[in-house]
């Protein structure tokens, strides 16, 4: 035979068997190392079925053998791993993995293999390990939890993660639409059609590879033809429309506020070869929809009877879908077990396809729907008022041999005669639950419907309208009319269309009249061993009816407690098959009705979505923005060792071949001190302020006064936040009476510009000032060192750099070797120093020109670390090092820059608060270690009194500490309690290696106290 023993011939029955299968082609794939074959159209689940493989996985806790239960997103059992090495992906639902050539799949959660899984032993101990057992044990001895945990951790989890980084790519896409239709079943398509006809921009998404939903496997005709024909023609019409976008293999994963939807499009999963052509594996769509039509259908629920988890028990809808769609038989002989009419469709379809059916077992005593009659008429044996109470298995529970059937009456124990029926599969239906997930993600509330015995949408404050089975409308004609009306109505809301609709605009449908469903939440088993039988409610997490009852008995009575205590609904399927059944079981245990018990919260995503897709394009070298300065290329070519500062990458130092970082930094420092150095300071924030009130604004945002500054001059200023803490600093230059150029720290550039705007717009809207950030307009370089002037004078230009003409803290505009520049005489190193700014597109070239001009003067580029040491030698602070958001200017000894005259500036009032104004706060001081070679570690704390062991009272910490090649010893700055009154004291810094470093508190200026060097 074909090697697919359960594959049904194409031509049986009415010709629908294996509707989507391309039997002319074979696809090779493997499962647990075994080579198998299937056809295009197959999923891994249908192909496994076809190959006669029923046992596909092991359950989470008891390692029970499990088979396929469903046919789609609700599948709890058939979780497999697909792919190898970097492309290995665990926990995929076999029911949704489309077969492709060479697909490699594996079962999970078993060792050494699926058949002989050691973990089955848990099943033997299952009485010892009911829900929540771990809260009651593993506590002795006290320290042992980590020991037990090790084993528990290894036993838990399902599949394994990939061992290599993911070679595939992902991306995001945004879209806006008038109407987003989620679900491409009959309801969704009908809604889309009428919405599109009304002129709306419509998107239709469905998680399946095909549109049509259950159309090919539900009863009923549209326009007197099989539903699929109508689907076919509708899809063609919609595809041809300019205003419609149809998407398959796309899950609507989440609904967020204001009708924002997250979609995940699986672009290459079904055909990995597409990736080679540049297609991303997944594409995450972010869609803003004016209106959403939720046509997500309904999910069938199983029935809770003893050993209902055995491979071979599957949903009735799945059974017929495997037959109709994939042409596989779920077994050799089946029993249908139901409490509603819909499962009769399964009985009919199976029979039509020649799959032997032993019995339809219906709990209802007198089912009377049209399908029931049709089944009876077709000669199908129906027993009523009966239930399947247990299954008998062979092959260690992996294979069903027969079922037990006994008379059933809700709420009472099973009595009467029990019959054994030979069969190897059971198709079960407990009714259908509207798929309300998306509806509930943001705001939708549900209500309990007695007819459906399930929750259906009630109200929402979002623009999301449920239709069809998702709205609890199961009758085909009602569903189509509801969907088409809704489509038109929401389109009208979205685009205000005036297109008139008549009744005839919608297709007419007919479906068999259904009888009433009878709720069945629990079917007790018969016989002495009743208690030992497991009635599974949540298959994946192995939650049984007894577990739910135990939780209730133990006082975990809120449904939320029960969920967490038993892990009900917390598995990868999020309880799609189990939630309502669990509530049903609980009605007994809690003596309460389902609506009173209530549901747990639905949360995104509807089905799990890959992390790779969430990261999208922002992966690898595009993870987080990188900003580059104009001479960036030069830095790279010259071996810069970069450090990230905010989004910028700045050279930390420039090691020469063989240099350590330390060597490089020392060399760079000495070149500034002795000759001349060049620093790329382009990242420095630059903001221009212009307007009649510019000076007034500056007086309010700085602690010191700027209105008195002369044109062409600069002044160092301190900015506080409203809590009185230092936030930023920099030199601001007056370009004209009403025009200033403010410098901020590199990290502060954007923040300060926003800060100024905020104050201007919200608090001082009467001030006339325009604020324009110009950081990016200018490349800016510091040229510092005794030879700085010589270098600049080496270059052609119209600026007089001489000491007399170009005073300290002043600024000139002109040309330097042709480039337009702004030159500032400011110094952060204490040396003779200028900063030269030129428009960014000249930055690289001017940088080269400066280096060339300095060649004979020993010029060297220096990085941020040399900059830091240079300023520390001079006792200059760095915001973020000496200050940390809890430090005031007075703490730092910068009282000279804090005006006492001004009535108000930002932070002034806060500085007066008791704790900030208190004496003996931590104050900035210098430190000289007793051993000059010893560099204190950054952040080391001084203690009030040295003790043998902690705790010790801490009196302050090192804020910056360096080896200073200039003074030939270590230097440090620190914030020490009452430090300024303790000059000369020796304090202790106990370090982690047991060593205690002693240091003398000194003034924080270590070099050129008089400031002579910068004034030459």
């Amino acid at each position: 035979m074909s090697g697919q023993p359960y594959r049904l011939p194409a031509n049986v029955g009415s010709g629908t068997t294996g509707r989507i299968l391309d039997r002319s082609r074979r696809i090779a794939f493997s499962f647990d190392g075994k080579s198998l074959s299937g056809h295009p159209g197959d999923t891994v689940a249908s192909a496994l079925f076809a190959n006669g493989i029923r046992l596909v996985g092991r359950s989470f806790k008891y390692h029970r053998p499990r088979g396929v239960i469903g046919s789609g997103a609700d599948e709890p059992n058939a979780l497999i791993s697909v792919g190898e090495s970097g492309r290995h992906e665990p926990n995929q639902r076999a029911t949704q993995v489309e077969l492709y050539d060479g697909l490699v799949s594996k079962s999970q959660n078993n060792w050494p293999n699926l058949k002989f899984d050691i973990g089955q032993i848990n099943s033997k101990f299952s009485r010892l390990i009911p829900a929540g057992f771990y809260y009651k044990t593993f506590m002795w001895p006290q320290s042992a939890w980590m020991f037990y945990e090790h084993f528990i951790r290894n036993a838990a989890g399902l599949g394994t993660a990939a061992s290599e980084p993911d070679p595939d790519t992902y991306e995001h896409m945004h879209a806006t639409c008038d109407v987003l239709v989620v679900g491409g079943g009959v309801a969704g398509l009908a809604a889309a059609q009428s919405a599109a006809a009304a002129g709306a921009r419509v998107m239709v998404v469905d998680e399946c590879a095909r549109l049509g939903g259950l159309a090919d496997s539900s009863s009923g005709l549209i326009e007197s033809s099989p539903q699929t024909e109508w689907v076919q023609s509708t899809v063609s019409t919609l595809a041809a429309a300019e205003n419609v976008h149809l998407m398959t293999r796309t899950i609507a994963a989440g609904h967020y506020h204001h009708n924002w939807c997250l979609l995940l499009e699986r672009v290459t999963d079904h055909d990995p070869s597409l990736a080679i052509q540049g297609a991303p594996r997944h594409r995450l769509w972010k869609v803003r929809a004016n209106q959403i039509v939720m046509a997500t259908g309904a999910l069938e629920r199983p029935l809770t009877f003893a050993n209902n988890d055995r491979p071979g028990v599957l949903l009735a809808s799945a059974a017929r879908i495997y037959v109709n769609r994939y042409g596989v038989s779920p077994g050799r002989r089946g029993v249908v077990f139901t409490n509603n009419d819909d499962a009769y469709q399964t009985a009919l379809d199976l029979t039509r396809a020649g799959v032997p059916l032993a019995r339809v077992v219906d709990v209802r005593t007198d089912p009377r729907g049209e399908l029931v009659e049709e089944a009876r008429a077709a000669g199908i044996e129906v027993v009523t008022g009966m239930a399947v109470t247990n299954v008998d298995t062979v092959a260690a529970g992996a294979k069903i041999q027969s079922v037990k059937v006994a008379p059933y009456k809700a709420g009472s124990r099973i009595g009467g005669r029990e019959e054994r029926i030979e069969c190897d599969f059971v198709a079960v239906s407990g009714g259908w639950n509207p798929a309300v997930h998306l509806y509930c993600h943001t705001s939708g509330k549900v209500k309990f419907d007695e007819d459906l015995q399930s929750f259906k949408p009630d109200r929402s404050f979002d623009q999301i309208t449920p239709v069809g089975a998702a709205n609890g409308t199961y009758d085909l004609d009602g569903l189509i009319s509801e969907a088409s009306n809704t489509g038109a109505a929401v389109a009208k809301k979205a685009v205000g269309s005036k297109v008139k609709r008549s009744k005839s605009d919608r297709p007419l449908a007919s479906s068999p009249k259904a009888g009433k469903l009878e709720p069945v939440w629990f079917v007790p088993a018969t016989g002495a061993l009743n208690e030992g039988n497991k009635h599974f409610v949540d298959f994946q997490n192995d939650v049984t009816a007894a577990d739910l009852e135990l939780a209730a008995r133990e006082g975990y009575r809120s449904v939320e407690h029960i969920k967490r205590y038993t892990t009900l609904g917390m598995a990868t399927d999020q309880g799609k098959t189990s939630n309502i059944n669990a509530l049903g079981v609980l009605t007994g245990a809690l003596q309460s009705a389902i609506p009173q018990i209530g549901t747990t919260t639905f949360r995104p995503p509807y089905t799990p979505i890959s992390f790779g897709a969430i990261a999208g394009t922002n992966a690898g070298n595009r993870f987080l923005v990188v900003r580059r300065t104009p001479p960036y290329e030069w830095h790279c070519e010259n071996r810069a060792d970069f450090e990230p500062i905010g989004q910028w990458r700045r050279p930390y130092c420039y090691p020469k071949p063989g240099d350590s970082r330390h060597d490089a930094i020392n060399r760079e420092i000495l070149s500034v001190r002795n000759e001349v150095g060049l620093l790329d300071a382009s990242t420095l924030g630059k903001i221009e302020l212009k307007g009649p009130d510019a000076a007034k604004l500056l007086d309010r945002v700085y602690t010191n006064t700027f209105s008195t500054l002369k044109v062409g001059k600069g002044r160092y200023g301190l900015m506080l936040n409203e809590e009185g803490f230092l936030m930023d600093d920099g030199v601001t230059v007056r370009l004209a009476d009403d025009h200033f150029l403010m410098h901020t720290t590199s990290g502060g550039a954007d923040r300060i510009a926003g800060w100024l705007e905020e104050w201007l717009q919200t608090e001082w809207s009467d001030l006339k000032v325009y604020v324009t950030p110009v950081t990016e307009q200018w490349a800016q370089f510091a040229i510092a060192g005794p030879n700085a002037r010589n270098v600049l004078e080496n270059l052609d230009g119209d600026i007089d750099f001489s000491a007399d003409s170009f005073e300290f803290m002043s600024m000139k505009v002109g040309r330097l070797t042709g480039y337009p520049v702004r030159a500032f005489r400011i110094s952060f190193s204490g040396e003779l120093s200028y900063e030269i700014a030129t428009p960014s597109n000249f930055g690289h070239s001017l940088w080269l020109a400066l280096l060339e001009a300095g060649e004979n003067h020993g010029i060297q580029a220096y990085g941020t670390e040399a900059l830091h040491v240079l300023r520390a030698e001079k006792g200059f602070i760095v915001v973020g090092d000496e200050s940390d958001g809890t430090v005031t200017p007075l703490d730092l000894g910068l009282g000279w820059a804090v005006s006492k005259k001004k009535d108000d500036y930002i932070g002034k009032r806060s500085l007066e608060r008791a704790y900030l104004a208190a004496p003996k706060r931590k104050q900035l001081v210098g430190l000289l270690t007793q051993d000059p070679q010893e560099v204190l570690p950054d952040g080391a704390y001084a203690v009030a009194e040295l003790k043998d062991k902690p705790p010790m009272e801490m009196i302050g910490q090192v804020t910056s500490a360096y080896w200073s090649p200039t003074v030939g010893r270590s230097i440090a700055m620190a914030l020490i309690k009452d430090g300024r009154n303790r000059l000369g004291d020796v304090v202790d810094f106990p370090l982690d290696n047991g060593k205690v470093v002693k240091a003398t508190i000194v003034d924080p200026v270590f070099y050129d106290k008089e400031g002579a060097k910068q004034n030459v």
Partner: protein, 206 residues
């Protein structure tokens, strides 16, 4: 005096070969200079002076632009415009502006080098850009001349729809981000990753 060496933000990538399989064309537009202009539309003196100096009216409508000759004025905010003009002409234009504006409450500032312009064009330009921004570029309001500030690939940007023959967008990004945005575009613009949103399509399987 040496020759002035001008290096636009992406000049170092000019010699790189673009991948063959891009579905849009990408270019850097580096020959435009830019002036940031601030002032109030409620101040007739300002409006008159600016119009006279630029030779074109300031676009008052949000998200619009106006063009005359070499000069384009992009709306940036209710009191802010970005004037673009051929490189080399900006100093003259700026002086003209400053002179005309006189002592009105206004500010014209040369920001020619603060940004660069990346031109994205081709039939797929809209959908390629929509991978990086939530702004609906397929909306009917996106007509030639349309401008909008937006967040593109996590970066502050402005976008101008230049013309539709073929669809051509200029994306203005701050200079320091140019490489990042360029690489980002290369990553999302491959033919195999084309997205065609709306319009006729192959009917999906049923």
């Amino acid at each position: 005096m040496s020759d002035l060496q001008f290096r636009s933000a992406l000049s170092h990538r000019r010699d790189e070969d673009l991948p063959m399989d891009l579905c849009v064309s990408l270019d850097e537009v580096s020959d435009r200079a830019m002036i940031d202009l601030r002032g109030s539309l409620d101040d007739p003196k300002f409006v008159a002076a600016a119009t006279a100096a630029l030779g074109v009216a300031l676009p008052a409508q949000p998200r619009s632009s106006s063009v005359k000759g070499d000069i384009t004025v992009l709306w940036m905010s209710v009191d802010q415009w970005l004037v673009t003009t051929p490189r080399g002409s900006e100093q003259a234009l700026l002086s003209k502006l400053v002179k005309r504006l006189g002592n009105t409450f206004s500010f014209a500032c040369d920001v020619s080098d603060a940004r660069t312009i990346i031109r994205v064009s081709g039939g797929d330009a809209r959908s390629v850009l929509m991978k990086g921004t939530s702004v609906d570029l397929q909306s009917p309001v996106v007509k030639p001349g349309w401008v909008r500030r937006l967040l593109f690939a996590e970066v502050a940007a402005a976008c101008q729809f230049v013309h539709s023959d073929p669809d051509t967008f200029d994306v203005y990004v701050f200079r320091s981000y140019a490489d990042y945005v360029w690489e980002w575009l290369l990553a999302v613009a491959r033919k195999g990753a084309r997205v065609q949103l709306y319009g006729k399509q192959e009917p999906p399987l049923v």
